[in-house]
Amino acid sequence: MDWTGSSAEERREMLAAIGVDSVEELISGIPRQVEALPGLPGGLDEASLLRHVSALAGRNRPAGPGKCFIGAGAYEHATPAVVEALVSRGEFSTTYTPYQPEVSQGTLIAAFEFQTLIARLTGLDAANSSMYDGASATAEAALLAMRQTGRKEVAVSGAVHPEWTAVIRTYLSGVGAHIRTVPDEGGRTPLRGIEAVVDGDVACVVVQQPSFFGQLEDLRAAAKAAHAAGALFVAACNPLALGILASPGECGADIAVGDVQPLGIPLNFGGPYAGYMAVREWLVRQMPGRLVGMARDSRGRRGFTLTLQTREQHIRRERATSNICTNQALVALAATVYLCLLGKQGLRDVARQNAVRARRAAERLLEIPGVSLAFDGPFFNEFVLRLPRDAAEVCRRVTERTGIWPGLDLGRFRQDLADCLMVCVTETKTAEDVEALKTALEDALR
């Protein structure tokens, strides 16, 4: 099937107006045309398509409610029904980037609200209207710091998500810059490690809050250490955790980045999610990405429009602050709706519940003989258990026997942590779910 707009008769009229007998006449100058694409067989009608794609979806085996304890950068949270209801509206989903502000106030107001919410959450002055994801936002923050300082090295904590570090590495490779790793200790970033690594060549220090291992970092100390060497401080924060944790702004960060996935965005096997970036005022003109600003119309009414566009690729071309064009507007809208629904108290409640439930879950799981905490610091909603055997094998066993996904085996990223299982407990996990996990782990370890 196709979704073309005109009848055969209308097409004939159009061809006549153009003065040709067929469209093919208009494209006779194209060499090497194909008659057919055998690998793309004839189309499916709607019912057959749904049946086919549903069958594919049916070949997945989702863990189901209460059974996925994997976090590691993508988190299962309860999602208000209103989020999907609103982002499904064609008025939001079938528009382009708001180049014509007079007929895009819906998109622009939502983006301005997103920027405001992110600025307030992070305690910084301004935020852009979204980046691709948290990892690429962090890489862009590093590039921003390099532009600002004129320095060519970037210090990244070993306790940053390994995939995020990999993304920073790729982005830096393009411009010939390098990562200096601050070795992690106890799942966190040691202050003396930062001091040892950072010098006058380092543009910024990147620390994640909570760390990849779920541990809470001392952002204040890290910021001080970065600033002492004239480097900027980039805090990559889980925005949900900021419902209770000290904001990057109050801790002295110059740039905050992160992924809004924990704010009501479905897991969807990796995306689409959305990154955010917030900065202090003196860095605004170095920001990548779209910015929405307040403006007045000819009659003095308030309106919103894309602004400071001279930073961007469509105007500045190779001298732009970034190559980013399309971002993640609709995902940012979902996060905006989520944050508004939860509100001041609700976000705090959900964040607090994550911390309480994770703590109680850890206490229960530590009752299993031979199981201990790999890291001893405070955590938000994720913690690492050291098991008496290989964690990947334990995961396989638990999943085979019970359908539970007990967490992430850290050996996939770090050989020295092959006996470590990282468990995430959010507000979606009941006491009963945790008991089921405990029993499953006990069985698998027996």
Partner: protein, 483 residues
Amino acid sequence: MTDIPLIFEMSQPGRRGWRPPALDVEDAPLEELIPAGLLREDAPELPEVTELDVMRHFTRISSLNMCIDTHFYPLGSCTMKYNPRVTEKCARLPGFDLHPYAPVESSQGTLELLHGLQRMLCELTGMAAFTLHPAAGAQGELAGILVARAWHESRGERRSKVVIPDSAHGTNPASARLGGYEVVTIRSDGRGRTSPADLRMLMGGDVALFMLTNPNTLGLFEDGILEIADIVHQAGALLYLDGANLNALAGIVRPGDLGFDIVHVNTHKTLATPHGGGGPGAGPVGVAGHLAEFLPGWVVEQDERERFRLSRPARSIGQLRAFFGSTAVLIRAYAYLRALGGPGLRENSLTAILNANYLRCRLRETFAPHVDEPCMHECVLSAKAQKKRGVRALDIAKRLLDYGFHPPTIYFPLIVDEALMIEPTESESKSTLDGFVDALLKIDREIDECPDVVRGAPHSTPVGRLDEVSAARRPVLTMPVEG
């Protein structure tokens, strides 16, 4: 008329929206869980509103948007075609909502779909391998550029330049720069194309890549393409296709058959995934066989037991974003391709070309085409004659809003004076196109009859023309907290 309120202006202390599940474990004060020094002093100033407040606010502001579902949206180079709802339904099937680290045995359906999408994209473009990893077209460009660089380096070559036409999208030079290259601009010739002779002069041993959009942003097929490919390859460089305009070629000709080595596809253009007011998109990148080992992210493979799995190309340039990719977007693209098949895609492209040429022919007497010959899926006209009569392309665009049409792209490509870049897509009917033409012709008459009406447009939109200069001079990017 009063200002449209922001959600912050609706806030009332103590109002609540959504509530989390009841706590069924022993509670504890926060300070017992987390040291006080790590906690935030004040709760973030989020709005305090009810669920209905939220529903109403966002529904109301959504009605301030023009969108494909409500209006003709002929934004050039953006391919604003209809987004079929069945693909939405496919993407929201609950079975697809998996954690990105889901066990491979549990994600076979998703992996099979992604594997199928890779294969279909290879067939569509004539490329040997695809990565579905990049988040959008511009990230796909960066991926392609880094792949080219890795390939040159694998041959012991360090080349420093990327050649890009002056009609290219701004992302091309920005991506090349991000990839560490110096940008050399090649001027379009009198026919609005890249002249092979000009290109030959620029293609030295220091050029890594020539990035071409084909059809180019003037809506013209680069008919010297076979010679261009030879020139590029003879110089030891690679040929990149910016696939932004693939909607003109799908099912008609395959970029791989024309000599392109690398191509990115914008799913939110050619493959009808909704643009979302600025994303999310996805930017799959396809490459010729000799470049496959450098692709970023993961590719989906099928092993000897017919089991699907993710695999990292041997000499991958690395990762550009966390996790596999924007899977929910890719599911929509897959569904769209399966619905159309090869014949449907060809029908789409031919219809898009028909529609663009129809508009060109009906408008050419009034708005001069930059190059007056058959176009592909979009046509670029100029309002320079109107400018002489005192009205700019911007004014015409704004006046179109009053007639219920989203304007075309204006002032792009940069090489066209007072450009109106019109891309109708295949979705639109002849009557819609006729209505659009009538509006443009009427506006042209208004320039003589009532020029101030045109210059003061729009008159019927939720807000009038905004003072963007003042907005940029003293930017207000967030709502200040009251009190």
